[in-house]
Amino acid sequence: MIENKNSFQERARRSRVVSDFKQAITFLTEQLVQSRAPWKLRIRGCAYRYLALLGQPEECVPNPQEQQELLQEEIARLNQSVQDIEEALRLNPRDLYAVMERASVRVQSGRIAEARVDIARALEINPSSMYHVDQVDGFHLVTDECSISLCRI
C-alpha cells in the first residue's frame, strides 16, 4: 500500500516536472525573442537536456516505431540544448554554469573527452569550482544507475 502510494506520488511529481520544463521552455522562448540574455539561454538549454534525460513516462511501453520517434525527440532536445548553451557561451564565455552544462550535455551524449575540456575550462574560470564540477552530470537526479561523475571516469 505504502509502495503504491509512493509510486503514485513519484509519477505525479515526474509528470509535473516534465510539464514545468515544457512551460519553462515556452516562456523562455517568448522572453528570448525580446532579448538574448545568456542566462536565459542557459536555463532553456538545461531544460531541454533534462527533458531529454527524463525521456518517456515510466508507465508507457511504446512499440518499436514509437520508440524510434521518442529517440529522435530526445536527440532533437539534446541538439537544441547544445545550441542554446553554445550561444550562451558565445555571449558570455566566462559563464561557469554554462560551461558546466555543456559538460553535462557532452557526458549525456557520450563525448567524454570534450566534456573533460569543459571541466578544465571551468576550473580555469574559477579554480575553486571543484564542488560544482563534481555535480556536472546531474544524472543522479533522474536515475541512480546513471549517477556518474566525471571525476570518476
Binding site: N6, E10, R13, R14, R16, V17, D20, F21, Q23, A24, I25, T26, F27, L28, T29, E30, Q31, K40, I43, R44, C46, A47, Y50, Y97, M100, Y131, H132, D134, Q135, V136, G138, H140, L141, V142, D144
Partner: protein, 172 residues
C-alpha cells in the same frame, strides 16, 4: 537646509545615472558624498550597497543594507538585496532570514520567493524550495525561470525520497 537637500537630490540623481551606466565606482563616490551631507538617508545606503554588490564587495554592501534597515525597517527591497548578498557569501540561512523579512513587507513580490527558493535549494530544503517556486509561479505565471527552478527542485526532492537520504547539493 534647503540647499543641502537640493545638493543631496542632485547627487542622488547623479548616482542613479552612474548606476544605469554600470559605473559603480563613480556611483559609490557620489552616494558617499550625499551620505556625508545627509547620513540619515536610508535609500542612499541601499543604493550605494547595490553598487558595492555589483562590484562583488558583498560585505560592504551588507554594511550599507544593515544601516539602511536600521534607519528604515519598512523597506522590503533592502531586505531582499541583503538576502542576495548573504546568498552570494554562501550564508544561506541568513539569506532566508532576510527574505522572510522581505516577504513580510512585500508578500506579492515573486522575486523574493524565487530567491528564497534558491537558498532553500542550496540548504537541501527541497520541499520548502518547491513551495517557494510554486508561490513565485503563482505571482508571475509568465516567468520561465520559476518553472525551471521548481522542476529542478522537485527532481532533487524525488532523488532524496528515492534514496531515503539527503542528496547532494544542487548545481543551481
Amino acid at each position: 537646509m534647503a540647499h543641502i537637500e537640493s545638493v543631496c537630490m542632485r547627487l542622488t540623481q547623479e548616482g542613479l545615472r552612474h548606476q544605469r551606466l554600470q559605473e559603480h565606482r563613480q556611483a559609490i563616490s557620489v552616494y558617499s558624498q550625499a551620505l556625508r551631507l545627509d547620513p540619515l538617508n536610508a535609500r542612499n545606503y541601499t543604493r550605494r550597497g547595490l553598487s558595492y554588490y555589483a562590484l562583488q564587495y558583498c560585505h560592504l554592501a551588507l554594511l550599507d543594507y544593515n544601516r539602511s534597515i536600521q534607519l528604515d525597517p519598512t523597506n522590503g527591497a533592502t531586505y531582499m538585496h541583503s538576502g542576495i548578498s548573504y546568498s552570494n557569501l554562501t550564508q544561506h540561512q541568513r539569506a532566508i532570514d532576510a527574505y522572510n523579512q522581505a516577504v513580510r513587507i512585500n508578500p506579492h513580490d515573486a522575486s523574493i520567493y524565487y530567491n528564497r527558493g534558491n537558498s532553500h535549494s542550496l540548504l537541501l530544503m527541497h520541499e520548502e524550495a518547491v513551495q517557494d517556486f510554486t508561490k513565485s509561479i503563482e505571482l508571475e505565471p509568465d516567468d520561465g525561470s520559476g518553472y525551471y527552478a521548481r522542476a529542478v527542485a522537485t527532481l532533487h526532492l524525488m532523488a532524496a525520497d528515492r534514496r531515503g537520504i539527503i542528496c547532494e547539493s544542487p548545481c543551481v
